[in-house]
Protein backbone atom coordinates (compact mmCIF):
# COMPACT_ATOMS: atom_id res chain seq x y z
CA UNK A 1 0.00 0.00 0.00
CA UNK A 2 1.42 3.43 -0.90
CA UNK A 3 2.42 5.63 2.03
CA UNK A 4 0.16 8.44 0.84
CA UNK A 5 -3.60 8.50 1.01
CA UNK A 6 -5.71 11.25 -0.52
CA UNK A 7 -9.29 11.67 0.63
CA UNK A 8 -10.66 12.49 -2.74
CA UNK A 9 -13.77 13.51 -4.63
CA UNK A 10 -13.30 13.35 -8.40
CA UNK A 11 -15.38 16.43 -9.21
CA UNK A 12 -13.77 18.62 -6.55
CA UNK A 13 -11.40 21.21 -8.03
CA UNK A 14 -9.27 21.38 -4.88
CA UNK A 15 -8.79 17.60 -4.86
CA UNK A 16 -7.78 17.93 -8.50
CA UNK A 17 -4.98 20.36 -7.56
CA UNK A 18 -3.51 17.61 -5.37
CA UNK A 19 -4.04 14.85 -7.94
CA UNK A 20 -2.35 17.04 -10.55
CA UNK A 21 0.66 17.66 -8.29
CA UNK A 22 0.94 13.98 -7.36
CA UNK A 23 0.82 13.02 -11.02
CA UNK A 24 3.38 15.64 -12.08
CA UNK A 25 5.73 14.63 -9.27
CA UNK A 26 5.07 10.92 -10.04
CA UNK A 27 4.16 10.12 -6.45
CA UNK A 28 2.15 6.96 -5.84
CA UNK A 29 -0.87 7.32 -3.62
CA UNK A 30 -4.08 5.69 -2.68
CA UNK A 31 -7.21 7.66 -3.48
CA UNK A 32 -9.93 7.17 -0.88
CA UNK A 33 -13.26 8.04 -2.44
CA UNK A 34 -15.34 10.43 -0.34
CA UNK A 35 -19.03 10.87 -1.00
CA UNK A 36 -18.90 14.65 -1.02
CA UNK A 37 -22.02 15.00 -3.10
CA UNK A 38 -24.70 14.36 -2.13
CA UNK A 39 -23.42 12.62 1.05
CA UNK A 40 -21.32 15.50 2.49
CA UNK A 41 -19.23 12.83 4.13
CA UNK A 42 -16.35 15.26 4.73
CA UNK A 43 -18.53 17.34 7.06
CA UNK A 44 -19.11 14.45 9.48
CA UNK A 45 -17.00 12.23 11.71
CA UNK A 46 -14.72 10.42 11.15
CA UNK A 47 -13.44 12.74 8.38
CA UNK A 48 -14.17 15.73 10.60
CA UNK A 49 -11.42 14.48 12.90
CA UNK A 50 -8.95 14.79 10.02
CA UNK A 51 -10.13 18.25 8.98
CA UNK A 52 -12.37 20.07 11.46
CA UNK A 53 -13.25 22.53 8.68
CA UNK A 54 -15.20 19.78 6.94
CA UNK A 55 -13.57 20.25 3.56
CA UNK A 56 -11.58 18.25 1.05
CA UNK A 57 -8.85 17.50 0.17
CA UNK A 58 -7.17 15.75 3.08
CA UNK A 59 -3.81 14.06 2.66
CA UNK A 60 -2.29 11.47 4.94
CA UNK A 61 1.43 10.91 4.52
CA UNK A 62 2.58 8.48 7.20
CA UNK A 63 1.93 10.28 10.46
CA UNK A 64 1.34 13.62 8.79
CA UNK A 65 -2.26 14.60 8.16
CA UNK A 66 -2.83 17.79 6.17
CA UNK A 67 -5.81 19.66 4.84
CA UNK A 68 -6.03 22.59 2.46
CA UNK A 69 -4.83 22.03 -1.10
CA UNK A 70 -2.13 24.72 -0.97
CA UNK A 71 -0.53 23.34 2.20
CA UNK A 72 -0.65 19.87 0.71
CA UNK A 73 1.05 21.12 -2.48
CA UNK A 74 3.79 22.71 -0.37
CA UNK A 75 4.30 19.46 1.51
CA UNK A 76 4.46 17.40 -1.69
CA UNK A 77 6.97 19.80 -3.25
CA UNK A 78 9.26 19.77 -0.22
CA UNK A 79 8.97 16.04 0.37
CA UNK A 80 8.99 14.65 -3.17
CA UNK A 81 10.45 17.18 -5.60
CA UNK A 82 14.15 16.49 -5.88
CA UNK A 83 14.63 19.39 -8.30
CA UNK A 84 13.62 21.99 -5.71
CA UNK A 85 11.85 23.92 -8.47
CA UNK A 86 8.20 23.41 -7.63
CA UNK A 87 8.61 25.32 -4.37
CA UNK A 88 11.81 27.28 -4.93
CA UNK A 89 13.95 28.24 -1.93
CA UNK A 90 15.27 31.50 -3.35
CA UNK A 91 13.61 34.38 -1.46
CA UNK A 92 11.86 36.29 -4.25
CA UNK A 93 10.57 33.21 -6.07
CA UNK A 94 9.50 31.57 -2.80
CA UNK A 95 7.57 34.68 -1.75
CA UNK A 96 5.97 34.97 -5.16
CA UNK A 97 4.82 31.35 -4.96
CA UNK A 98 3.40 32.04 -1.49
CA UNK A 99 1.59 35.13 -2.74
CA UNK A 100 -0.14 33.20 -5.50
CA UNK A 101 -0.86 30.21 -3.25
CA UNK A 102 -2.57 32.57 -0.86
CA UNK A 103 -4.50 34.14 -3.72
CA UNK A 104 -5.55 30.67 -4.88
CA UNK A 105 -6.68 29.66 -1.40
CA UNK A 106 -8.51 32.88 -0.50
CA UNK A 107 -9.51 35.34 -3.25
CA UNK A 108 -9.89 32.72 -5.93
CA UNK A 109 -12.03 30.44 -3.76
CA UNK A 110 -14.96 32.42 -5.12
CA UNK A 111 -14.47 30.44 -8.34
CA UNK A 112 -14.90 27.24 -6.35
CA UNK A 113 -18.05 28.64 -4.76
CA UNK A 114 -19.39 29.73 -8.14
CA UNK A 115 -18.78 26.28 -9.56
CA UNK A 116 -20.33 24.47 -6.61
CA UNK A 117 -23.32 26.73 -6.86
CA UNK A 118 -23.67 25.99 -10.58
CA UNK A 119 -23.04 22.24 -10.43
CA UNK A 120 -24.22 21.14 -7.01
CA UNK A 121 -26.73 23.84 -6.18
CA UNK A 122 -24.62 25.00 -3.23
CA UNK A 123 -25.84 28.19 -1.52
CA UNK A 124 -25.02 31.61 -2.95
CA UNK A 125 -25.99 34.06 -5.66
CA UNK A 126 -24.64 32.34 -8.78
CA UNK A 127 -24.45 35.48 -10.89
CA UNK A 128 -22.64 37.49 -8.22
CA UNK A 129 -20.23 34.64 -7.57
CA UNK A 130 -19.29 34.15 -11.20
CA UNK A 131 -18.91 37.91 -11.74
CA UNK A 132 -16.49 38.04 -8.84
CA UNK A 133 -14.69 34.91 -10.06
CA UNK A 134 -14.30 36.55 -13.49
CA UNK A 135 -12.72 39.55 -11.77
CA UNK A 136 -10.17 37.27 -10.09
CA UNK A 137 -9.38 35.57 -13.39
CA UNK A 138 -8.82 39.01 -14.88
CA UNK A 139 -6.26 39.79 -12.18
CA UNK A 140 -4.50 36.61 -13.21
CA UNK A 141 -4.70 37.52 -16.90
CA UNK A 142 -3.30 41.00 -16.22
CA UNK A 143 -0.40 39.45 -14.34
CA UNK A 144 0.41 36.99 -17.10
CA UNK A 145 0.12 39.71 -19.76
CA UNK A 146 2.81 41.70 -17.97
CA UNK A 147 4.89 38.54 -17.45
CA UNK A 148 4.77 37.82 -21.18
CA UNK A 149 6.66 41.05 -21.96
CA UNK A 150 9.66 39.57 -20.16
CA UNK A 151 9.17 36.28 -21.98
CA UNK A 152 7.96 34.56 -18.80
CA UNK A 153 5.38 31.78 -19.13
CA UNK A 154 4.69 30.97 -15.47
CA UNK A 155 3.14 32.85 -12.56
CA UNK A 156 5.89 32.98 -9.98
CA UNK A 157 9.23 31.84 -11.40
CA UNK A 158 10.97 31.28 -14.73
CA UNK A 159 9.65 27.72 -14.52
CA UNK A 160 6.44 26.06 -13.34
CA UNK A 161 5.80 26.00 -9.59
CA UNK A 162 3.02 24.75 -7.34
CA UNK A 163 1.45 28.21 -7.76
CA UNK A 164 0.63 27.31 -11.36
CA UNK A 165 -0.91 24.03 -10.19
CA UNK A 166 -3.01 25.79 -7.54
CA UNK A 167 -4.29 28.40 -10.00
CA UNK A 168 -5.00 26.15 -12.96
CA UNK A 169 -8.34 24.51 -12.02
CA UNK A 170 -10.27 27.76 -11.50
CA UNK A 171 -9.44 28.86 -15.04
CA UNK A 172 -9.70 25.44 -16.68
CA UNK A 173 -13.14 24.86 -15.10
CA UNK A 174 -14.51 28.37 -15.51
CA UNK A 175 -17.02 27.30 -18.16
CA UNK A 176 -18.69 25.25 -15.44
CA UNK A 177 -19.79 28.54 -13.88
CA UNK A 178 -20.48 30.33 -17.13
CA UNK A 179 -17.24 32.25 -17.63
CA UNK A 180 -15.76 31.69 -21.05
CA UNK A 181 -12.07 31.89 -21.95
CA UNK A 182 -12.59 34.50 -24.69
CA UNK A 183 -11.38 37.49 -22.68
CA UNK A 184 -8.31 35.89 -21.07
CA UNK A 185 -5.74 35.49 -23.85
CA UNK A 186 -2.74 35.40 -21.51
CA UNK A 187 -4.39 32.68 -19.40
CA UNK A 188 -5.26 30.65 -22.49
CA UNK A 189 -1.62 30.67 -23.42
CA UNK A 190 -0.49 29.80 -19.90
CA UNK A 191 -3.02 26.95 -19.68
CA UNK A 192 -1.56 25.54 -22.86
CA UNK A 193 1.83 25.35 -21.15
CA UNK A 194 0.32 23.74 -18.06
CA UNK A 195 -1.25 21.09 -20.29
CA UNK A 196 2.17 20.31 -21.72
CA UNK A 197 3.76 19.60 -18.33
CA UNK A 198 4.95 15.99 -18.09
CA UNK A 199 2.47 14.13 -15.93
CA UNK A 200 -0.39 16.55 -16.65
CA UNK A 201 -3.76 14.99 -16.04
CA UNK A 202 -7.35 16.18 -16.44
CA UNK A 203 -10.55 15.90 -14.45
CA UNK A 204 -14.20 15.87 -15.53
CA UNK A 205 -14.89 19.29 -17.06
CA UNK A 206 -11.34 19.73 -18.33
CA UNK A 207 -11.12 18.30 -21.81
CA UNK A 208 -8.50 15.79 -22.73
CA UNK A 209 -7.37 16.59 -26.27
CA UNK A 210 -6.78 13.25 -27.89
Amino acid sequence: MPALALYNYELDDACYKVRLALSILSVEYEAIAVDAFPGKEQTKPPLLDLNPLGRLPILRDGDVVLHGAEAILAHLARAYDGSGKWLPAEAAAFASVMQWLQFAASDLSVAREAREQALFDAPGDGTALSTEAARMLRIMDDHMTARSFAGASWFAAPHATIADIALFPAFALSRDFGVDHDEYPALRNWARYVRQLPGFTTMPGIPDYH
Binding site: A146, F149, P185, N189, R192
Partner: protein
Protein backbone atom coordinates in the same frame (compact mmCIF):
# COMPACT_ATOMS: atom_id res chain seq x y z
CA UNK B 1 -25.93 46.46 -41.31
CA UNK B 2 -23.32 47.98 -43.58
CA UNK B 3 -20.45 47.97 -41.11
CA UNK B 4 -20.59 44.19 -41.00
CA UNK B 5 -18.82 44.38 -44.31
CA UNK B 6 -15.72 46.12 -42.96
CA UNK B 7 -12.67 44.34 -41.65
CA UNK B 8 -12.85 44.02 -37.87
CA UNK B 9 -10.04 43.13 -35.48
CA UNK B 10 -10.86 40.07 -33.39
CA UNK B 11 -7.57 39.31 -31.58
CA UNK B 12 -3.95 40.26 -31.27
CA UNK B 13 -1.82 38.06 -33.50
CA UNK B 14 0.21 36.92 -30.50
CA UNK B 15 -2.93 35.81 -28.63
CA UNK B 16 -3.68 33.00 -31.08
CA UNK B 17 -0.65 30.72 -31.09
CA UNK B 18 -0.14 28.08 -33.77
CA UNK B 19 -2.47 25.10 -33.27
CA UNK B 20 -4.82 26.93 -30.89
CA UNK B 21 -8.34 28.29 -31.06
CA UNK B 22 -10.37 30.85 -29.16
CA UNK B 23 -13.94 32.07 -29.14
CA UNK B 24 -14.94 35.69 -29.64
CA UNK B 25 -17.93 37.73 -30.76
CA UNK B 26 -18.54 40.32 -33.44
CA UNK B 27 -21.88 42.15 -33.39
CA UNK B 28 -22.94 39.41 -30.98
CA UNK B 29 -22.20 36.64 -33.48
CA UNK B 30 -20.11 33.90 -31.98
CA UNK B 31 -16.91 33.24 -33.87
CA UNK B 32 -14.07 30.79 -33.51
CA UNK B 33 -10.64 32.15 -34.38
CA UNK B 34 -8.01 29.49 -34.90
CA UNK B 35 -4.54 29.16 -36.24
CA UNK B 36 -3.35 25.99 -37.92
CA UNK B 37 0.12 24.52 -37.50
CA UNK B 38 1.08 26.20 -40.78
CA UNK B 39 0.28 29.50 -38.98
CA UNK B 40 -2.65 30.49 -41.22
CA UNK B 41 -5.62 31.97 -39.35
CA UNK B 42 -9.25 30.99 -39.81
CA UNK B 43 -12.43 32.66 -38.63
CA UNK B 44 -15.66 30.69 -38.67
CA UNK B 45 -19.06 30.60 -37.16
CA UNK B 46 -18.48 29.08 -33.71
CA UNK B 47 -20.86 26.23 -34.26
CA UNK B 48 -20.24 22.61 -35.07
CA UNK B 49 -22.67 21.39 -37.79
CA UNK B 50 -23.14 18.13 -35.90
CA UNK B 51 -24.93 19.23 -32.74
CA UNK B 52 -24.14 22.92 -32.66
CA UNK B 53 -21.50 22.84 -29.95
CA UNK B 54 -18.83 25.52 -29.91
CA UNK B 55 -15.87 24.73 -32.12
CA UNK B 56 -13.75 27.11 -30.04
CA UNK B 57 -13.81 24.45 -27.31
CA UNK B 58 -12.17 22.08 -29.75
CA UNK B 59 -8.56 21.52 -30.62
CA UNK B 60 -6.35 21.94 -33.64
CA UNK B 61 -4.58 19.04 -35.31
CA UNK B 62 -2.42 20.07 -38.26
CA UNK B 63 -4.65 22.02 -40.61
CA UNK B 64 -7.85 20.56 -39.13
CA UNK B 65 -9.88 21.66 -36.14
CA UNK B 66 -11.63 18.92 -34.18
CA UNK B 67 -14.85 19.43 -32.27
CA UNK B 68 -14.48 18.53 -28.61
CA UNK B 69 -17.76 16.70 -28.38
CA UNK B 70 -17.70 13.89 -30.90
CA UNK B 71 -14.44 14.58 -32.66
CA UNK B 72 -15.71 15.63 -36.08
CA UNK B 73 -12.80 17.21 -37.93
CA UNK B 74 -12.94 20.15 -40.32
CA UNK B 75 -10.35 21.23 -42.85
CA UNK B 76 -9.17 24.80 -43.48
CA UNK B 77 -12.14 25.42 -45.81
CA UNK B 78 -14.62 24.40 -43.09
CA UNK B 79 -15.41 21.12 -44.83
CA UNK B 80 -15.96 18.16 -42.51
CA UNK B 81 -13.36 15.50 -43.37
CA UNK B 82 -13.60 12.92 -40.65
CA UNK B 83 -16.29 11.50 -38.37
CA UNK B 84 -14.74 9.21 -35.76
CA UNK B 85 -17.96 7.24 -35.20
CA UNK B 86 -18.01 6.41 -38.93
CA UNK B 87 -14.36 6.37 -39.95
CA UNK B 88 -15.04 4.75 -43.32
CA UNK B 89 -17.75 6.96 -44.75
CA UNK B 90 -17.04 9.67 -47.25
CA UNK B 91 -18.31 12.79 -45.53
CA UNK B 92 -21.06 14.56 -47.52
CA UNK B 93 -19.96 18.01 -48.81
CA UNK B 94 -23.01 19.58 -47.15
CA UNK B 95 -21.40 19.13 -43.73
CA UNK B 96 -19.51 22.38 -43.75
CA UNK B 97 -18.94 25.16 -41.23
CA UNK B 98 -19.78 28.71 -42.22
CA UNK B 99 -16.46 30.48 -42.85
CA UNK B 100 -15.63 34.19 -42.88
CA UNK B 101 -12.87 36.35 -44.28
CA UNK B 102 -9.68 36.23 -42.22
CA UNK B 103 -6.55 38.32 -42.55
CA UNK B 104 -3.59 39.29 -40.45
CA UNK B 105 -1.71 42.57 -40.35
CA UNK B 106 -0.56 45.29 -37.94
CA UNK B 107 -0.21 42.70 -35.19
CA UNK B 108 -3.91 41.83 -35.28
CA UNK B 109 -6.21 39.21 -36.75
CA UNK B 110 -9.05 40.64 -38.82
CA UNK B 111 -12.46 39.26 -39.72
CA UNK B 112 -14.89 40.24 -42.46
CA UNK B 113 -18.36 38.76 -42.15
CA UNK B 114 -19.15 39.28 -45.82
CA UNK B 115 -20.78 38.21 -48.01
CA UNK B 116 -18.30 40.28 -50.07
CA UNK B 117 -14.75 40.65 -48.87
CA UNK B 118 -13.80 44.32 -48.76
CA UNK B 119 -10.24 45.25 -49.73
CA UNK B 120 -7.90 45.13 -46.77
CA UNK B 121 -6.70 48.62 -45.78
CA UNK B 122 -2.99 49.03 -46.39
CA UNK B 123 -0.60 48.21 -43.60
CA UNK B 124 -0.14 50.89 -40.91
CA UNK B 125 3.07 49.62 -39.33
CA UNK B 126 6.07 47.64 -40.46
CA UNK B 127 6.78 46.36 -36.96
CA UNK B 128 4.43 45.97 -33.99
CA UNK B 129 4.67 44.80 -30.41
CA UNK B 130 1.62 43.62 -28.49
CA UNK B 131 0.31 45.55 -25.47
CA UNK B 132 -2.98 43.81 -24.73
CA UNK B 133 -6.61 43.30 -25.66
CA UNK B 134 -8.77 45.35 -23.34
CA UNK B 135 -12.37 44.34 -22.75
CA UNK B 136 -14.74 47.14 -21.82
CA UNK B 137 -18.39 47.50 -20.96
CA UNK B 138 -20.32 49.66 -23.39
CA UNK B 139 -20.39 50.14 -27.14
CA UNK B 140 -17.61 51.27 -29.44
CA UNK B 141 -18.58 54.94 -29.19
CA UNK B 142 -18.06 54.92 -25.44
CA UNK B 143 -14.72 53.14 -25.83
CA UNK B 144 -13.56 55.76 -28.33
CA UNK B 145 -14.62 58.57 -26.01
CA UNK B 146 -12.59 56.94 -23.25
CA UNK B 147 -9.54 56.76 -25.49
CA UNK B 148 -9.92 60.42 -26.39
CA UNK B 149 -10.35 61.44 -22.75
CA UNK B 150 -7.49 59.29 -21.39
CA UNK B 151 -4.68 59.44 -23.92
CA UNK B 152 -1.40 57.73 -23.05
CA UNK B 153 1.75 59.56 -22.16
CA UNK B 154 4.75 59.03 -24.35
CA UNK B 155 7.24 56.35 -23.34
CA UNK B 156 10.31 57.65 -25.09
CA UNK B 157 9.98 61.40 -24.48
CA UNK B 158 7.84 63.96 -22.74
CA UNK B 159 5.62 65.51 -25.32
CA UNK B 160 2.46 67.49 -25.86
CA UNK B 161 -1.01 65.95 -25.82
CA UNK B 162 -1.46 62.68 -27.66
CA UNK B 163 -3.25 62.77 -30.99
CA UNK B 164 -5.81 60.19 -31.97
CA UNK B 165 -6.77 59.73 -35.61
CA UNK B 166 -8.82 57.17 -37.51
CA UNK B 167 -6.96 54.96 -39.96
CA UNK B 168 -10.02 52.97 -40.98
CA UNK B 169 -13.50 52.63 -39.45
CA UNK B 170 -12.11 50.05 -37.00
CA UNK B 171 -8.46 51.09 -36.58
CA UNK B 172 -7.11 54.18 -34.81
CA UNK B 173 -3.64 55.56 -34.44
CA UNK B 174 -2.54 57.39 -31.30
CA UNK B 175 0.62 59.46 -31.44
CA UNK B 176 2.29 60.47 -28.20
CA UNK B 177 5.60 62.21 -28.85
CA UNK B 178 7.54 59.91 -31.15
CA UNK B 179 5.53 56.87 -30.01
CA UNK B 180 2.65 55.46 -31.99
CA UNK B 181 0.00 52.99 -30.90
CA UNK B 182 -2.51 51.22 -33.09
CA UNK B 183 -5.89 50.48 -31.55
CA UNK B 184 -8.20 48.01 -33.24
CA UNK B 185 -11.81 48.41 -32.13
CA UNK B 186 -14.02 45.32 -31.99
CA UNK B 187 -17.75 45.58 -31.41
CA UNK B 188 -18.27 42.36 -29.43
CA UNK B 189 -21.90 43.37 -29.02
CA UNK B 190 -23.84 46.58 -28.65
CA UNK B 191 -22.77 46.71 -25.02
CA UNK B 192 -19.25 45.28 -24.98
CA UNK B 193 -16.14 46.39 -26.83
CA UNK B 194 -12.61 45.06 -27.20
CA UNK B 195 -9.66 47.35 -27.87
CA UNK B 196 -6.70 45.52 -29.38
CA UNK B 197 -3.63 47.58 -28.60
CA UNK B 198 -0.20 47.33 -30.21
CA UNK B 199 2.85 49.57 -30.30
CA UNK B 200 3.84 50.56 -33.84
CA UNK B 201 7.58 50.56 -33.43
CA UNK B 202 10.68 48.42 -33.18
CA UNK B 203 11.15 45.77 -30.48
CA UNK B 204 14.57 47.22 -29.72
CA UNK B 205 12.93 50.42 -28.46
CA UNK B 206 9.82 49.08 -26.72
CA UNK B 207 10.23 45.45 -25.67
CA UNK B 208 9.68 45.02 -21.95
CA UNK B 209 9.61 48.50 -20.38
CA UNK B 210 7.77 50.15 -23.28
CA UNK B 211 5.12 47.43 -23.36
CA UNK B 212 4.70 47.72 -19.60
CA UNK B 213 4.34 51.50 -19.87
CA UNK B 214 1.43 51.18 -22.29
CA UNK B 215 -0.05 48.18 -20.43
CA UNK B 216 -0.33 50.35 -17.31
CA UNK B 217 -2.01 53.06 -19.35
CA UNK B 218 -4.47 50.52 -20.79
CA UNK B 219 -5.26 49.09 -17.35
CA UNK B 220 -5.78 52.61 -15.97
CA UNK B 221 -8.12 53.35 -18.86
CA UNK B 222 -10.16 50.27 -17.97
CA UNK B 223 -10.15 51.29 -14.32
CA UNK B 224 -11.55 54.70 -15.23
CA UNK B 225 -14.08 53.08 -17.53
CA UNK B 226 -15.38 51.06 -14.60
CA UNK B 227 -15.27 53.71 -11.89
CA UNK B 228 -15.80 57.09 -13.55
CA UNK B 229 -19.02 58.09 -15.21
CA UNK B 230 -18.38 58.57 -18.93
CA UNK B 231 -20.78 60.46 -21.17
CA UNK B 232 -22.90 57.79 -22.79
CA UNK B 233 -21.95 58.13 -26.44
CA UNK B 234 -24.61 57.51 -29.03
CA UNK B 235 -22.08 57.90 -31.83
CA UNK B 236 -21.39 54.87 -33.93
CA UNK B 237 -18.05 53.34 -34.69
CA UNK B 238 -15.90 55.69 -36.74
CA UNK B 239 -17.95 58.81 -36.07
CA UNK B 240 -16.75 59.42 -32.55
CA UNK B 241 -13.44 61.03 -33.42
Amino acid sequence: MEERNDWHPVALSTSIKPATSAGTRLFDEELVVWRDTGEATHIWEDRCPHRGMKLSFGFVRGDHIACLYHGWQYDAAGQCRYIPAHPDIKVPPAIKVKTYGAAEQDGMIWAALGPDLPPLPSRSATETLPVRSLYLRGGTGRALNLLRDHPPRSFTQEAGPAQIEPVSPTLFRIRAGTDALLIGVQALSGSRTALHIVIAGPAAAYQGAGQLHFLRWANALRHDAETVQVEPAATALGEAV
